[in-house]
Amino acid sequence: TGNTPDTATQTGGQAGVKVANDEPGEKVVIGFSAPAADHGWMAAISAAARAEAEKYSDVELKVVEGTNDVNLQISQVETFINDKVDAIVLLPFDGAAMTPVALKAMKAGITVINVDREFDSPFAARSTVLGDNYGMGVSAGTYVCEKLKGKSDAVVAEIAGIDSLPLTQDRSKGFADALGECGLNVDNRVAAEFTVESGEKAAANLLQAAPRIDAIWNHDDDQGIGVGAAIKNSGRSEFFLVGGAGSANVMREIKADNGLHKATVVYPSTQGADGIRLARLAVQGKSLGDLVEVEVPRQVELFAPVVTKDNVDDYLPTAFES
């Protein structure tokens, strides 16, 4: 299929570019379910998915109440199955817990696109769009290593997100592993809840716990606003801050280079939108542009790049406004 040449490599980077795949095809009804939009990134996920669906005249999107109760999310998917939608884009609260119902949907002939948190059965989804949580931690850790090169006694702190989520574990593991490569380790770790307020609270306590810090990695830029406020309150500035997820706010700060944020690791909030696209293409039997492959691939793992002053302009357009 003839694609217009497009150099953007990031998913979502093709926004506004007219390609053949965008030509209206048969009508596709897509159900979308995600966890509760209790923080900026998650809210951005749903918003991006909606916006993506708006672009296609042949897509009808059904978005249901976000929930952190797997029982409710299961019943939402069951409702989609009853409704005989063509595809379901599912960002599960808990990937393993949503596997049985996703299998059921697949068996009913519905194209399931799994987003962000992976199912534990390869048969549960036609295709999977994954953010790379472990890779995110690795990217952040590698960046911190680079910046602190040679300071073996450097104090590194970590402000994690909701600690009970597997994705948080993956991020932390990646971070610790990468730090280990250069002989550093996480000296202080606190967890927040992805919200501004919890970030402020966690950071305020963290700053007391560690009298001297060289670098902080904060998993989530939305909670990062609170982290920033706490740092400002404490009047400290001996360290630099690496963000996570990649909100527009933080990118603007990085660009201006006037704050503690020196970098952020992107965790694309466009995954939901990608899911919608893949669902539409898969149902319509189209393939992914830029690939020679005639089918939509099984799995798309998104890259978790580090955004710094130098490359921030590339990422700002797709960053989410938290």
């Binding site: 249901v64 409710l72 019943s75 069951e78 409702t79 009853n82 409704d83 817990a97």
Partner: protein, 345 residues
Amino acid sequence: MSENTATAAVAPTSGPPDGGRARRAVTGILGSAAGRNTGLVVALVLLCLVGVITAGDRFADVDNLLTILRLASVIGVVSVGMTFVITGGGIDLSVGAIVALSSVWATTLATQSVANDAHWSALVFTALAVGAGCGVINGGLIAYGRIVAFIATLAMLAAARGLAEILSNRKTQIVNVPGFTAFFDASVLGVPVLVIIFVVVAIVGWVVLNRTTFGRRTFAVGGNPEAARLAGIDVRRHTVLLYTLLGVCCGIAAVMLIARTTTGSSTHGVLYELDAIAAVVIGGTLLSGGRGTIAGTVFGVLIFTTLSNVFTLNNLSISAQAVAKGAIIVVAVLLQQRLARRGDT
């Protein structure tokens, strides 16, 4: 709360005083049961009407109704247990955490290997035992430690969820016990086993609350604990039993959730406490104790689940859903009150 109680004192609840006795007794019971729940029935019917009007066949479809029931059954079982505790003058904030802990404990590798070696019911027993254990601790702290129920169960909420995280190492544990899955995935005459469990729990709950000495004592303990004590009821022991019963219900709910998700996880059951208490209270059970109805609770659960189903079918914006939900709760309660009052006179 208190205002409500005060006014309730003036609006009594019995049938006509001068009719024949037998007739009076019968109409009294039926009348008050129907009268108490008419509002809820009407609210549920209205909700269904909205469902049919807005979503047509998609709502009235058998599959959809089964989806509603399946969704209702997990929280329903917890709510039935909660009805007992609240009727007995208590409250339990730890139900969600107990569900999580039970689900994790019942799906550890150790339990699963026992279940695979011996019988899958080992998994079920583990869940029930963990639930019961947590209930005993709750009840013991409240009855013998004399810690206010709110605080004791809040402590349990923190502790049980923390323990669940430690046990599972915050990983979702996948169940691999074929017998278990086969049993709970089945349907009998088209009705899923989960729904049957809920129906059985509700019926047993109703019978126990309304037809046994245990139930009668629950009303007494909740209505006036001092009077109950002086009437010779062992109020403390009874309190422990009530929380244990609720713990067992949480264990059952955990089993159901394991079956539904094929996993045990420390994130299961988040905010179940609020959902269950809301269903119980909207059903007409007094938060201050002494009055409780299982039928009302079941209606409460169905109203909440139907509501979210209708929302799902209608593709409503998520924030608008929340606002609508708030408004609908208020309307349902007002309806319930007005109609219940009329049914009384």
